[in-house]
Amino acid sequence: MKVYADNAATTKMSRKSIEAMLPYMEKEYGNPSSLYRLGQQAAEALDEARETIARNLGCTPAEITFTSGGSESDNQALLSAAAIGERKGRKHIISTAFEHHAVLHMLKKLEKRGFEVTYLDVHENGIVSPGQVEAAIRPDTCLVTVMYANNEIGTIQPVGQIGAVCRTHGVIFHTDAVQAVGHLPINVQEENIDMLSLSAHKFHGPKGIGALYAKKGIPLTSLIEGGAQERGKRAGTENVPAIMGMAAAFDEISARMEENSRKISRLRDQLIDGLLAIPHSVLNGDRDRRLPGNVNICFEGIEGESLLLLLDEKGISASSGSACTSGSLDPSHVLLAIGRPHEIAHGSLRLSLCETNTEEEIKYLLREIPEVVEYLRSLSPVWRDLQEGKKDYVIQ
């Protein structure tokens, strides 16, 4: 059996999305900046796609800028807010300790440029509170950037309330919604979101395409300079096929969001319950306020990479916050941020489901994973020490 359970890493493109792309590759291949029909048709298609994205986010088309993906959107959002802050002499930013690297590395860069960043604690449950944000706001705060849902542990932040706090204090609020878009209902206006990043390949759209929403009145700084595409805010010939694919995928997934969510959450809960039956295992992130498809569990005494490799042998595609998978030596900053000690953080497993996963697959996962965990524990000197009472369990 083959089970793809790494939908947070990337997803399979939907048929509809592919079919939305194809005509723009071979027939309607015109450059939207061109005057002639072939170009103008592409330009019109682009407008339609922009409307689709806007409609699904609850904003206007002019507030959407197409980018090459989530990382670029995050980078441009932060760069733009920082430029605005700089002009006003406000150089303080509020974020969290467990943002995606596209945000964190950009924040590091801004720190070098003289910005001060407050990284809010996300607690053991992986959630920041609006109160924390409010308490951290200073007169010189120019930006609050808090992700909508975490990519590793799936916890959903109280974005609407954080947005309200930011609005009250006149601070720009950006949210990296790469993991949330298509999976949670989002309305940027109702939630007082000023900027939002999304990436199509996380919801069955194409790779290499994303969007940045920026509320009217928030000037964007170009990350990529050149031609006047995207109202001068993002140079480069527009990736029309991918944009069409993104719009189609967004429409498709939005139409079924509730239904998908119900189905996926049920599978997720079965999986969580089943895996937590493994002794000395613990769920990472709040049990309820989490993405419909996210399961993230630490197993004491084993290491993540070897777990993944053995699962792969069984046809299961999953991921881990283990350092060994990434080639760096520190385990996931997300797991450390929620207070997991290093030795436990190494033994994490993330399974992320989508609407095409089935009950049979969950059964298969629940048969294979406990076996593999047990096998790896049988090889593990750490597990032996724990069993023999030479060390204390971290996870009871």
């Binding site: 084993i302 990479e305 490799l309 060994c324 080639g327 290093h342 090889l379 750490v382």
Partner: protein, 148 residues
Amino acid sequence: MLYSKKVMDHFTHPRNVGVIENPDGVGEVGNAKCGDIMRIYLKIDHDTISDVKFETFGCGSAIASSSMATEMIKGKPLSEALELTNKAVAEALDGLPAHKMHCSVLAEEAIKAAIQNYYEKNGIAYDAGQFPDCESCSHCASCDKSGN
């Protein structure tokens, strides 16, 4: 693929896994904090490794390196086992990705530590220079070398 066929073979079917009751030497290196611990148990007869077992907490490359290294020293005189290098282990595995070479270093060091333990337990004089000390281990930046 990240790993060679050989690595995957040793990873999925590790040789010499387990413990030896009343071993003549035990060596443990690494640190759970850093994501890898290797423990080697030796049975020694007349300066020859008559049996060897390992336990490893670590990645695929760490487990495969342990397995391969134990195969390479089993039945060998201690002098030969002491000469086993991590490069030889990696080569025997048809290579390791660059960022995984340190896992093979752990295997080399675990064996040395087990032999050192044997010498010490039996009051056999040895050249300390042949053995790595914990202080010189630098495979992880964040390690406090406290051993836990």
